[in-house]
């Protein structure tokens, strides 16, 4: 594709878009699909045809809008009218009233402005508003312009500098400065170089990366291609969790579309730069998302992490310099190049710029996918965006950071969300899971649940994680059945310290967080289990009806 062709296509698409008075976006992502989204989509298409408004109203199959709790969700533009729990019957009515008679159907709307008010969508800028399977849709909203700019008007070093100045930190968990990482890879000797986009997202209850891939795959591809240009890589892999069939399918088609338009492949935009992307499927191993394990997995081996150094930047895939970035990190890149690092760093906090996507789940009224500026407080997320806990229940704790994130109590809700504050409080940013618990959840049981997850997912290489976590699980399991005594709590803390400090990789190093934070903030619940043989939430002691009786 020549630079002019991109501009012409964008203009043509934009005009086409504007020729419609209405656009109906039907969410067909994994969240809405199981609940009949495709039937709703065809119902809309039929209704539009039957009502003879085909010329005025465009029906688009889009990715996730972010309000997964009202699946299937439908967004009507202009005006961003969001309809909830749409059925084929409701679709007919919406077309008749909203499109034909220009009267939005109030009773079917999701009347929840608070959910969107505090959100800021950069990564999810196009989610729910474009058809992920039409590359033209992406181009119409400015897609691939950043790539054009990078390739034709910036040096690789210039791109790295811009990303570095933006302050962007890796969204995959560790929060490493992206510009700095790129610089390491760019300076490393060895050829070819590789780029890996990490879409393993094995954390249970986290679906932000999946949603991004399903809703806006080209943002990932464009970001990745820019990264490749910056570090001098010629080949890229997107490593996707195999449990995400729709994301896999969407990415596959998006890569094909980009290739057929010449946005991937040889001599992109008639420059000397060539880049190709292949998809690699995971196979059900959380630890494969760890950066050295992902290398082993792409090389067809057991996904066991290895000690670093050497870092992947020096010695990655097949011993060559390799850049590994999370897909959310990469999706930020096109926007940074187009709007500038200064604009980006004005969002969020001084040390933590930009936004973060979170999957908000658990005992909260409005679960779903959200994107918020860094520095927002947990209270705003849980109570304003999330609408608080269900009626009649009391908030107990919020877990941030996936299975190895810590639990924070009510008194820490005013904590701003950024890497430093969360880590200090014993939670982590992780890949962006926020789980809300109310008074029906038992903290001991919950710590046990997450420890069990890590036991199942431990690769088994090192003693603290393989053997230590299992013993930790057994002790916690004992507590939930009335075993153990109060001295055990010190032993648990000591064991947790060993696992945290002596484990080889991030899995073991963070796995004790749920236990440590519940011990710190909810110690009374442990005491009550051990001493009084009572579970305050009424979850444990099911079999014996309370071992203390």
């Amino acid at each position: 594709m020549k630079p002019d062709e991109l501009r012409n296509l964008a203009q043509k698409e934009d005009e086409l878009r504007k020729s419609y008075r209405y656009r109906i976006n039907v969410c067909c992502s994994s969240g809405c699909m199981p609940f009949g989204a495709l039937k709703v989509l065809s119902a809309f298409k039929d209704a539009v045809k039957e009502s003879g408004v085909e010329e005025e109203c465009y029906v688009a199959r889009t990715g996730c809008i972010g309000t997964c709790s009202i699946a299937p969700a439908v967004l009507v533009e202009p005006g961003d009218y969001l309809y909830q729990n749409v059925t084929p019957e409701k679709a007919k009515e919406i077309v008749k009233e909203h499109i034909v008679n220009n009267r939005p159907v109030k009773s079917m709307l999701y009347g929840n402005e608070a959910y969107f008010k505090k959100q800021l969508r950069i990564v999810l800028r196009n989610a729910g508003k474009i058809d992920p399977l039409r590359i033209e849709d992406y181009i119409a909203v400015g897609g691939y312009y950043a790539l054009l700019k990078a390739l034709t008007r910036m040096t690789p070093e210039g791109v790295i500098e811009e990303v570095a100045l933006s302050g962007l930190k890796g969204r995959g968990g560790a929060g490493f400065l992206t510009g700095l990482k790129w610089r390491y890879v760019a300076r490393a000797t060895g050829s070819p170089k590789y780029v890996i986009a990490n879409l393993d997202e094995g954390d249970p209850g986290v679906f932000a990366n999946r949603t991004l891939a399903e809703a806006d795959p080209h943002a990932i591809i464009e970001g990745m291609t820019i990264a490749a240009y910056a570090v001098g890589a010629s080949k890229g892999y997107i490593y996707v969790r195999s449990e995400y069939p729709l994301a896999v399918e969407t990415l596959k088609k998006a890569i094909e579309a980009a290739k057929s338009m010449g946005l991937l492949g040889e001599k992109i935009f008639e420059t000397a730069f060539s880049f190709d992307i292949e998809l690699r499927l995971g196979a059900g191993a959380f630890v494969a998302g760890e950066e050295t394990a992902i290398l082993a997995s792409i090389e067809g081996r057991r996904a066991m992490p290895r000690p670093r150094p050497p870092y992947p930047a020096q010695s990655g895939l097949w011993g060559k310099p390799t850049l590994i970035n999370n897909v959310e990190t990469l999706a930020n890149i096109p926007v940074i190049l187009l709007k500038g690092s200064e604009w980006f760093s004005s969002i969020g906090t001084k040390n933590c710029t930009g936004t973060k996507c979170f999957s908000l789940t658990g005992k909260v009224n409005n679960p779903g996918l959200i994107e918020v500026p860094m520095g927002i407080t947990l209270r705003e997320v849980v109570f304003e965006i999330g609408g608080g806990v269900p009626p009649g229940r009391r908030f107990k704790a919020v877990q941030v950071g996936g299975p190895s994130g810590g639990f924070l109590p009510e008194q820490l809700l005013d904590l701003p969300i950024d890497y430093e504050s969360l880590t200090k409080a014993g939670a982590i940013m992780g890949s962006g899971g926020i789980v809300v618990l109310d008074d029906t959840s038992c903290m001991v049981d919950t710590a046990k649940f997450f420890t069990e997850f890590c036991v199942d997912e431990s690769c088994g290489k090192c003693t603290p994680c393989r053997a230590g976590l299992y013993k930790l699980y057994k002790i916690l399991d004992g507590f939930t059945q009335g075993e153990g005594d109060i001295q055990d709590l010190d032993k648990v803390e000591d064991l947790c310290e060993f696992i945290k400090e002596a484990s080889l990789c991030g899995l073991g190093q963070t796995a004790p967080n749920p236990t440590l934070t519940t011990l710190k903030y909810f110690r009374d619940e442990y005491v009550s289990h051990i001493v009084e043989k009572k579970c305050p939430a009424g979850k444990c002691f099911k079999d014996g009806g309370g071992a203390g009786s």
Binding site: P307, S458, A467, E501, A502
Partner: protein, 237 residues
């Protein structure tokens, strides 16, 4: 090509080849660091975490067998914290499977047992797991008891890197990991095995052994003869 670097280990100045790991350098200089999965002559695993050390300036601990030396590095091999961690590592390994020394073929010749004594592990703070793997006696000369295995992968590395066969690997993962021959076949039916005996010679515990031969005899001699002298160190995952 290889540069020399200078560092201190427990205050003692030593010179080392760049790229070598701390444990190897310490041993060359007669400084003792307890270790278990490490085996000179094959790649390092960094799994058992018994060989942890501290490096001045960092709050973390490092497995010395996989941490390369660096110019000016100050290594500390002994501290209250390190002893505490090493003790946990040994205790957890002892509790992971039924290690009852009195009835084990390796009694008296077991590296795990030795370390337990040395580090003062006299009781276990966590419950023992009574795994119930079948004892494999199908090979005419060797025996394999998974109930004693500590998953150090020395056997796997030596079979792959020294014998060049790769008859052994791990199956499953995490706490369910198990050392297997071929497709989890009985040893006597594992076609890849050349019956060289290297694996049983390097097994630190009583999991792989030569039938009917006292362990003291097999281990010491053979270990020296074919492993110690092999290849220079290479550190991979």
């Amino acid at each position: 090509m290889s540069k020399t670097v200078e560092l201190t280990i427990d205050g003692k100045k030593v010179a080392a080849k760049e790229g070598d790991n701390i444990l190897k350098v310490a041993r060359e200089n007669n400084i003792y660091i307890p270790a278990l999965c490490y085996l000179e002559g094959v790649s390092s695993l960094g799994g058992c975490r018994v060989c942890v050390v501290e490096i001045r300036g960092s709050p973390k601990v490092f497995a010395s067998c996989v941490t390369p030396v660096a110019e000016g590095m100050e290594v500390i091999t002994d501290s209250e914290r390190l002893r505490r961690y090493r003790k946990w590592a040994i205790e957890l390994l002892l509790a992971e499977r039924p290690h009852v020394c009195s009835v084990c073929v390796a009694n008296g010749n077991c590296e795990l047992q030795q370390l337990a004594t040395e580090l003062g592990v006299d009781h276990l703070r966590v419950d023992r797991k009574w795994t119930n793997y079948e004892l494999d006696l199908t090979h005419e000369r060797f025996a394999y008891d998974p109930n004693r295995c500590i998953l150090c992968t020395r056997c796997i590395r030596v079979c792959d890197e020294v014998e060049g066969v790769h008859a052994i690997d791990l199956m499953l993962r995490g706490k369910n990991s198990k050392v297997i021959f071929d497709l989890d076949d009985k040893w006597g039916f594992a076609e890849s095995c050349t019956s060289c005996g290297k694996c049983s010679a390097v097994c630190p515990v009583g999991a792989l052994y030569v039938k009917g031969k006292p362990l003291s005899e097999v281990k010491k001699k053979e270990l020296v003869s074919f492993v110690m002298s092999r290849r220079s160190e290479k550190t991979i995952g």
